[in-house]
């Protein structure tokens, strides 16, 4: 259900540059374009410069942690609908509860499994495709309706 004419762009956000490049390499092997960000601030800047489909967000980062980044993304109408997948070594009830509250699309504990990560990203891309297909069906119906009236 992915858009055929465009390679999905996935942003990887983690304060550890090695982690970012490991994840980015993996994403490229899976056929995605990876956009790298090594801080929350960089994520919030880059998200406006690219058409990002899904964001993989680390929870524990200095200065601005993953929750703060997520909150900013969700508050901005321009970025609110981008699915956020939280990836974290800190997987406990409090972290998950906060992720749930903030409306993250998925929550993965490190280490993530290769296949699992790709599947979770594809699930979110499928959901975006469903949204676009629904919009198209809706607009086709509107056009047909207007054509009938004329």
């Amino acid at each position: 259900m992915e858009v055929a004419n465009r390679i999905p762009q996935i942003m990887v956000v983690d304060d550890d540059p090695d982690t970012v490049s490991i994840l980015a390499r993996h994403l490229q092997r899976e056929g995605f374009v990876a956009i790298e960000a090594i801080s929350g601030a960089e994520c919030l800047r880059l998200v406006h410069e690219h058409r990002i489909d899904v964001i993989l967000l680390d929870l524990m980062m200095p200065e601005m942690d993953g929750f703060q980044v997520c909150r900013s993304l969700k508050q901005d109408p321009a970025t609110a609908e981008i699915p956020v997948i939280m990836i974290t070594a800190r997987d406990d009830l409090d972290a998950r509860a906060e992720g749930m509250r903030l409306g993250v699309s998925d929550f993965l504990a490190k280490p993530v499994f290769r296949r699992q990560l790709a599947n979770r990203i594809r699930a979110q891309l499928d959901m975006l495709a469903t949204g676009r297909a629904t919009e198209a069906a809706l607009s086709n119906l509107e056009h047909a309706h207007h054509a009938d009236k004329k």
Partner: protein, 338 residues
């Protein structure tokens, strides 16, 4: 449309996810037309509920909504079920019988699991869709029927077309308006909303009773993948309510398959070695991961403080975090393997 629009009976599409909001708008819009609709979605995602909602909101609402499960009716009987038969049309046809299409006259016929329909019958259905004319098995004459057709299938109809087990022309004729219902795990943020909705329904059914879900239960339900989709979630909420003796739905009530990942539930590190032996490497990794996780939890994610808590240098800690921390090749017990 109002994002909080929640008509009774449309619980396949309850939620605030942008796609679900659009889907509700589409359902409402398509109900005002007579267009043929093809609904796709996994098992339990609420295809029949959506079909019924389209019927109930249409001008046909006062007439019949006739669901037909094409997979449940034996192939040799499906044609006479759908189109009816004359007396003596085949062995056992002692009396003439009206078909389901005729029953749906003025209303809606819902053809579920349409992918299971035999090819020969698909040709006949295509003709019905083109001119609305139905001929009963063994009949000389045809009758005109005005039934709106809503079909549904799992997501595999495109594959069936490629395999030549489903007619391409019929596929396009059905798919005038496609409605795809996403699986619940792709819109996790709607899970708490759905749970509250179903609890509310139970409150109405059992006046005077009330239930609340603990945060821990809610997080576990949110983390679960719901392969049976909304239907599985409804069943689970009802089961939890029935099993709940007071008013608080807490962890002991949750079935074990719903308790998420090893780290949300305590696993035990063995202290003895059984006859089958152990895998020391994986055990060490497990313990290391858990201690790192615990240290990060206690220090609210401060890596420097966490390293100190574990008696490690910051660089060693960072390396461990990365090594046990980023990405692992898929393991055989990985649930997402498929």
């Amino acid at each position: 449309m109002d994002a909080a629009f929640r008509p009774p009976g449309l619980h396949g599409l309850i939620g605030d996810h942008p796609t679900i909001v659009k889907l509700r708008a589409l359902v409402e819009r398509v109900a005002a037309t007579d267009a043929t609709v093809l609904i796709t979605g996994e098992s339990g995602s609420g295809k029949e509920i959506v079909a019924h909602a389209i019927h109930a909101q249409s001008v046909r609402a006062r007439r019949n909504f006739v669901p037909v499960n094409c997979a449940a009716i034996p192939h040799e009987l499906l044609e006479s079920e759908m189109f009816g038969h004359e007396r003596g049309a085949f062995t056992g046809a002692a009396a003439p019988r009206q078909g389901l299409f005729a029953t749906a006259d003025g209303g809606t016929i819902f053809l579920d699991e349409i992918g299971e329909m035999p090819l020969q019958l698909q040709a006949k259905l295509l003709r019905v869709l083109e001119d609305g004319i139905v001929r009963a098995v063994g009949a000389d004459r045809s009758i005109k029927v005005d039934a709106r057709v809503i079909a549904a299938s799992n997501n595999d109809l495109v594959a069936a077309v490629k395999r030549n087990t489903f007619r391409e022309d019929l596929f396009y004729r059905l798919q005038v308006v496609p409605i795809a219902i996403p699986p619940l795990r792709e819109r996790r943020s709607d899970i708490p909303i759905l749970i509250e909705y179903f609890l509310d329904r139970m409150r109405q059914r059992m006046p005077g009773r009330d239930w609340s879900v603990t945060r821990e239960v809610m997080v576990n339900l949110w983390s679960y993948d719901w392969p049976g989709n909304v239907r599985e979630l409804v069943n689970m909420v009802e089961r939890l309510v029935i099993m709940c003796e007071d008013s608080v739905i807490d962890m002991p009530l949750l079935p074990s398959n719903l308790v998420s990942g090893s780290r949300l539930a305590e696993t035990r590190i063995p202290t003895t070695i059984g006859a089958n032996g152990i895998n020391l490497n994986s055990l060490v990794r497990e313990l290391e991961g858990r201690m790192i996780n615990e240290a990060l939890k206690q220090t609210s994610g401060n890596k420097q403080a966490a390293a100190k808590l574990l008696g490690l240098k910051r660089t060693t800690f960072a390396a461990k975090l990365r090594r046990c921390g980023v990405i692992a090749p898929s393991s055989p017990d990985e649930a997402d393997e498929a």
